[in-house]
């Protein structure tokens, strides 16, 4: 990676989700030199794993595709995938950062023809589908992956599968000798856009995510609804692959709860409202959704989305935090037990499938550099951070709209820093 040129007028963006891509593009299109590093083999982050976006119900592909094109076209922007930051030293206007790039074992010659994938046999959990199905040991991370380049799973290196993959490639794109690389660069400002991760649902003991097959999470439901997902877009329950027509959504699963995440994750009400559409789209009037909630927080201008769902006779709203879930051993149905706050009625409701609207927590808890974080672990805008800024869901639980706004703001802040450097040196 000797060809990377970076100076203290360069901006480093860490994390290639929608926020990191936006921050990097804004700065690069403004004329700044930008290096964007992404831990996984392709950009897009969690948005790439959504089926549709609220509030417009369009596919994430559209917004993402534009960003990918902007990324490809911009000469000021350098993307490094499978790369993480291992250390940061220095100060605003002059940081020395060390990057570690994991071997992909596939070089630029790759045309994504898929011959290596066909040739290998070993299968692994598919991260893109939250491990709901398997992928091959030579794989394209997702259909719309950018870069469109295969990856070899490090677990097949040294096995006959690796040789098979290499022999199958007609373009000499597979390089089994690739090693981890370490690069040290100088940059003037850094933007953290490492995003969020779903709260570990198994920790919410009474909901039995770890025990009851037909209790899944909202992020898994997104994958299920997607035609590229593990069920080919069918809403099927895991225990018996039966059609899930009577779906329960449990709000605040791990959020607004001092035993779990204290904060409101802010997007999960909207996510469940959106997902009731998936149920109706799949099964028409036979598709019934019930939302169990404390209160619905459909933030500001998107409340009309909430009102429309509320008016839908196929969607029931039950004001209650579900106390616990048991399993009907006969048919695998989860049984939700609790008390309805409106009227204090006790219920024991059976559903085909339960979707936990899990909370969002920061994906990184151990930054390689000192940054100010709030009590929920999100990065604070703070003077003590110097030339280090944060964008998107590393600052708070945000929807895409707000994440992108925050990314633009962080790009502006970083530009000011490198402009100051340029001014004092100019």
């Amino acid at each position: 990676m000797a060809d990377i040129i970076a100076t203290n007028e360069t901006i480093l963006v860490v994390g290639g989700g929608i926020s990191g891509m936006t921050a990097a593009l804004e700065a690069a299109e403004f004329g700044k030199q930008v290096i964007l590093v992404e831990k996984s083999p392709s950009v897009g982050g969690r948005v790439g794993k959504l089926y549709k976006y609220f509030p417009k119900m369009c596919h994430p592909t559209c917004g993402m595709e534009i960003n990918q094109r902007r990324l490809k076209m911009n000469p000021n922007l350098r993307l490094l995938t499978m790369t993480e930051v291992s250390s940061v030293e220095g100060e605003e206007g002059n940081y020395s950062v060390t990057l570690k790039t994991a071997p992909r074992y596939v070089n630029e010659n790759c045309t994504a023809c898929g011959a290596c994938g066909d040739a290998v046999e070993a299968e692994f959990d598919n991260e893109h589908n939250y491990n709901l199905n398997k992928r091959k040991g030579a794989y394209l991370p997702s259909a719309m992956a950018h870069p469109q380049r295969y990856v070899l799973d490090p677990a097949i290196i040294g096995t006959p599968d690796a040789t098979k993959a290499k022999e199958a490639c007609k373009f000499d794109a597979i390089d089994l000798e690739m090693q981890e690389q370490e690069t040290t660069l100088t940059v003037g400002a850094i933007i953290w856009a490492t995003g969020w991760q779903p709260y570990d649902a198994a920790k919410i003991q009474p909901y039995g995510y770890d025990r009851i097959q037909n209790v899944i999470t909202s992020v898994e439901f997104e994958r299920m609804a997607d035609p590229h997902g593990p069920t080919g877009g069918k809403l099927l329950r895991p225990s018996d692959n039966a059609e899930a027509k009577n779906v329960a959504f449990i709000q605040c699963a791990g959020s607004r709860d001092r035993n779990h995440l204290k904060h409101c994750s802010r997007i999960c009400c909207m996510a469940s409202l959106k997902q009731t559409h998936y149920v109706e789209d799949a099964y028409g009037d036979e598709g019934k959704s019930t939302i169990y909630y404390i209160d619905i927080r459909a933030i500001d201008r998107i409340d009309d989305f909430h009102q429309k769902v509320k008016a839908n006779p196929n969607v029931t709203f039950t004001k209650s935090k579900v106390a616990r879930i048991d399993e009907n051993k006969g048919n695998g149905n989860p049984i939700l037990r609790g008390v309805d706050t409106e009227g204090y009625h006790r219920y024991d409701n059976e559903h085909d499938l339960v979707v936990l609207a899990v909370g969002m927590e920061p994906s990184v808890s151990d930054f390689p550099v000192k940054v100010a974080v709030n009590e929920n672990g999100y990065i604070e805008q703070d003077e003590s951070n110097g030339g280090i800024f944060a964008a998107g869901c590393s600052t708070d639980a945000l929807d895409v709209n707000r994440a992108v706004q925050s990314a633009t703001a962080s790009a502006l802040r970083a530009i000011q820093v490198v402009n100051r450097v340029a001014g004092s040196e100019g």
Binding site: K321, A323, R346
Partner: protein
Amino acid sequence: MASDAINYYRNNFLKEVEANVEEGAWVKMCMQCGVCAGSCPLGNAWEHTPQKIFMMIRAGKRDEVLSSDAMWMCTSCYNCIARCPRELPITHIMHGLANYAHRLGLAPKNQPTRKFATMFWNNLTKKGRVNELKLGIALYFMNGLVNGIKVAIKAMPLGMSMMKTKRLSPMEILGGHGIKDTSGFHAILKKAREIEDAKMKKFD
């Protein structure tokens, strides 16, 4: 006009609970999510779940709350405390409310848990040690003579084996064992009660 509205919303009962009930200051933190109500193993056996009691306190329903049997039905299983997203010490508040209602003489007269708790307290404070024989007998006959004999006969094998293993002495019937300084103990209890009474705030 303005003061009418303020008076309408001024809720003395919430303030009273905050001042006089153990852990009462937590009541206002409840967000009415309903998890405690659904988690209580006895929840369907009583009229008011913790969630409902807390809302009634905030709605100023003093008589209904203090005469409710709900607080007396709590078995201290702690399910509600473990699950409450706001970490309210629900079990303790329930017992605090029971105790407060009892002190004011408003608790339901024939509530069995209350009767037993009173018996237990009187038995314990007499000599500073529980007289299990007397307590057991009193418990058996709590609901009348005939019922008491029936229960006592049923429990006889247990009593006999407790005696064999020296967990229960028949001599206790003659007065029973106690602590060394009973009058000192009574003075402590009296002082504690004085302190508690002095702390109690008046509300109208």
